[in-house]
Symmetry: C2
């Protein structure tokens, strides 16, 4: 097991009515918040009104930054920073999904940094301080409410990059599974694929004996496999939503990666697709993952794919190892299809071959030679091809 | 899933040479420490010298409280409190096992409380502040280095009680699996039984659908079952020690209990044995657990025992449910025996029948009527009887 440093300081209030204690958490830091949200779904569900009422009752003043984009932009971050400074805001209160929370993290760091927030990309050491964040999550997918990462898009340079620092873990995450009842079926399914990929990113790394972490990851994967389809067919199923939401946090908050490290190429390969064609990230991952698993199936990846098949999918361990691996891959693809996600990139409007070369080159440049099974640009082109039916 | 509040603030430095960053962690809080330890095994292993050198190099002053008892006493706590106040100590630095760390927690709370530290027993609300603790763990068992509990013995009143508060989570835990190489075989085995019992305490609770937590607990149990015997037969096996040590933290730091709550009677039943006959707590648990599981086996406990058998012990799920449960119980007992722990209370010097009635009455008074399978005093007497061969 590799050495590691564990630090997950976020406190979580989880369950029905978790929002009720919001004011108490805010009051630990002050009496003025920047309320950050996206397109307004929180107004339709009544969550916005509930929060405003809670703030008013506790005499907590607020200003609002709304309309945060699905890929939050640097200009929006800068706007938020300016609002914090002008209005002496003490706490940032994002209410929404990953984009809203990511944007808030960049604001939290930017408001304590004397310069352009974009400077902080790739420079965690420049983040010496950050404003406290209390995140109210309304969907299960990115896990941003309990992790230290923020992905920001610079519209001018057309770059989408990470800002990361342990100081960006939200102080509190408020997780009420009922808020996720209204997440549409398609986003629910894509979210489950995204969460599973967060786990695969670590599970397939090759760092010696991490028996405990590997079994913990299998526990999370089993949870998502059991409850993904339930949440899709019964959006108001509390147990399904609760298990998925709690699993989404542990898939990426840093816990499973303790003692493990190494790239899993799905993210890099998909990243180009959503950048070129604006497809849903989680759906892109759902298409690529089984194809990728099949492509890298060889003596080196066989043991972990057999573990995946036997421990996650309950495939009979007496079967031939390659059969176990192939069955696990095929079950993975079927899971995504059963949740309504097509396995055909063509159906998502991605043209065959057109940009494969360019996209593969960018993907390969993200370190795919360091994966358990190293991949070249040519490999990535072939993987794109196999994602068409 | 029940609502819950999650808060595990302890930062963990894990791995070979983790001690090297000790001074940096201390310096966040000040330049004077109270070094707390037990019988001196840290002097034999060289850890003491290493720590003193690190402190000296960083000009961190220290005073020492040594000789902390296996069941730390209130008088020792009071002595530590006085030392902190007289010498303007900024950080408490326990180096050792659960007793040393528990004692340090009580000192940390007592030094910030104007009154007798014993007042804090059962009164977490009286703990308004606590000194920072940086814990260096030298064995895997109690998990005290990453949990908020301290068990203290009041010699005058002959009571052994808990002090608990979220303020008592150590700020840092330094976990180098190599420090646990020198833990004797018997203590290693008893420690594994203790850790497994921490998990059983939560696993057998009945709180509706906690699918994710249940699978995570099974992952931890599998880790202990795989590596307990390895650590016993190869004390210097790093992977075994690392997996056990990391699992020991997650067995009791609060994570698995999120969304689950309910008593598991083994602790209460054993507690009397170690109080009356001073047997090793983990060994007592190893004897009682299989007997207890067998005793409570009925329609109500069957589902969880079948899960335990199939998911933890890999017992064929097509077998009859009661057969699966009995096989799992028998495998549990064999595991402990294989690690050198007798299943016979008589061999530990406990007299048959003598104090059963009195002990059972005390155990039953600890809320055993609220267990998944409720137990009376008479049940406990019968369980004690069955722990003799």
């Amino acid at each position: 097991m590799e050495n590691f440093f564990y630090n997950i300081p976020t406190k979580v209030s989880f369950g029905k009515g978790a929002i009720d204690d919001l004011s108490g958490y805010i009051s630990e830091y002050g009496d003025s918040v920047l309320l950050v949200y996206g397109g307004g779904s929180i107004k339709r569900t009544g969550l916005y009104d509930r929060i405003i009422k809670l703030l008013d009752c506790s005499h907590i003043s607020h200003i609002e930054l709304s309309g945060v984009e699905p890929n939050p932009r640097l200009t929006t971050v800068k706007k938020g920073v300016q609002m914090c400074l002008e209005h002496d805001v003490k706490v940032i209160l994002p209410v929404g999904g990953g984009s809203t929370i990511d944007c808030s993290k960049a604001i939290a760091a930017g408001a304590c940094y004397d310069g352009d927030p974009w400077d902080l990309v790739g420079h965690p050491e420049k983040i010496e301080n950050a404003m406290p964040i209390i995140a109210v999550a309304t969907m299960a997918a990115t896990g941003s409410e309990m992790d230290p990462f923020a992905v920001i898009t610079n519209e001018e340079t057309k770059q989408k990059k990470d800002i990361a620092s342990d100081l960006l873990y939200p102080a509190y995450a408020i997780l009420d599974p009922e808020y996720t009842f209204s997440v549409p079926v398609y986003q629910t399914a894509a979210g489950v694929a995204d969460i599973m990929n967060h786990i695969f990113e670590v599970y397939f790394a090759d760092n010696g004996d991490t028996y405990m972490q590997d079994r913990m990851m299998e526990a999370l994967l089993k949870t998502l496999i059991k409850y993904g389809p339930v949440a899709v067919s019964e959006p108001d199923n509390y147990d399904a939503r609760a298990n998925i939401l709690w699993a989404s946090e542990w898939a990426i908050n840093g816990f499973i990666a303790c003692g493990k490290d190494g790239p899993w190429p799905a993210h890099s390969i998909e990243h180009q697709l959503s950048a070129y064609y604006d497809i849903t990230h989680g759906h892109g991952l759902a298409i690529i993952t089984p194809v990728l698993m099949d492509y890298i199936l060889n003596e080196k990846s066989l043991p972990v794919l057999v573990n995946y098949g036997v421990n996650v999918w309950d495939i009979e361990k007496t079967k031939a190892p390659y059969d176990i691996a192939r069955e696990a891959i095929s079950k993975t693809q079927k899971l995504y299809e059963d949740m309504g996600l097509t396995s055909d990139l063509g159906e998502l409007g991605v043209p065959y071959e057109k940009d494969f070369d360019e996209m593969a080159e960018k993907a390969a440049a993200e370190g795919l030679e360091h994966c358990r099974v190293p991949l070249t640009k040519e490999d990535v082109v072939e993987i794109y091809r196999r994602c068409f039916k």
